[in-house]
């Protein structure tokens, strides 16, 4: 699948200063494994503004909220924020790689 622009992946969880950064590092590693061109961002969940993303990575509690606002969003739900292999396999599924 050819992409001109980098894939935008947004990590959402909690306060956006701790777990989100850890999750972002894990996503960074997964992106390297899958060998895709992606831009990874960290965002707070805010009920007024939800950052646009090609793929969201988050935990169970934000899944429903994101789904409500962006019903067509691709969302990867994680319970272990350090499991890069899981995120890599989910990325492959989403991108049909």
């Amino acid at each position: 699948m050819e992409r001109r622009k980098p894939l935008k992946i947004v990590c959402i969880c909690g306060l956006g200063i701790g777990s989100s950064f850890i999750l972002a590092e894990t996503v960074r590693k997964a992106v390297k494994e899958v060998e895709i061109n992606a831009r990874i961002e960290v965002a707070d969940y805010s009920s007024s503004v939800l950052a646009d993303a090609d793929i969201y990575v988050t935990n169970v509690s934000f899944y429903e909220k994101i789904k409500e606002r962006k019903p067509h969003a691709k969302i990867i739900v994680v319970t272990d924020y350090t499991n890069h292999k899981y995120i890599a396999s989910e990325l492959r599924k989403i991108l049909s790689l």
Binding site: G18, I22, S61, T79, T82
Partner: protein
Amino acid sequence: MEKIANLLATLGDKVGLVEKVKDWKEAVRLSGEFLLKDGCIEPRYIDGMIKTCEKLGPYIAICPGVAIPHARPEDGAKGVCLSLLVVKNGVIFGSHNDPVYVLIAFSTPDKKSHIKVIQELAKLLMEKSRELVEYLKKAKSEKEIMKIVEKISS
């Protein structure tokens, strides 16, 4: 593994070991006491940590056996600080990642100063979290905890 110099330097000797705790609140409070002793937080930051855990719920336990209690900069953080508390009997946060044996508490005065340390922590946990928890659970002293962290991260 890459050196995690910033992480170890920031942690210093702010490590603790307890057999058990009454509940997750006590565990979070204890982990916060180390940050307070070091002078990098105001006492109210610890209340902020409890509130954050209540707000984030079980998601403060980010991977099997490990939780990262923290509050916002405006809750009384004075500097970038890190502590590590081992609860030998484990503590329940209501998460898929329970029981938690290792609490890594931190503070940051803004949204950026702690990034290097958190990134190093992320890399350590990504590669060695299972090992870290297994060894730390069995530690018999604070000194041993520091040795274990240094060894696993090198």
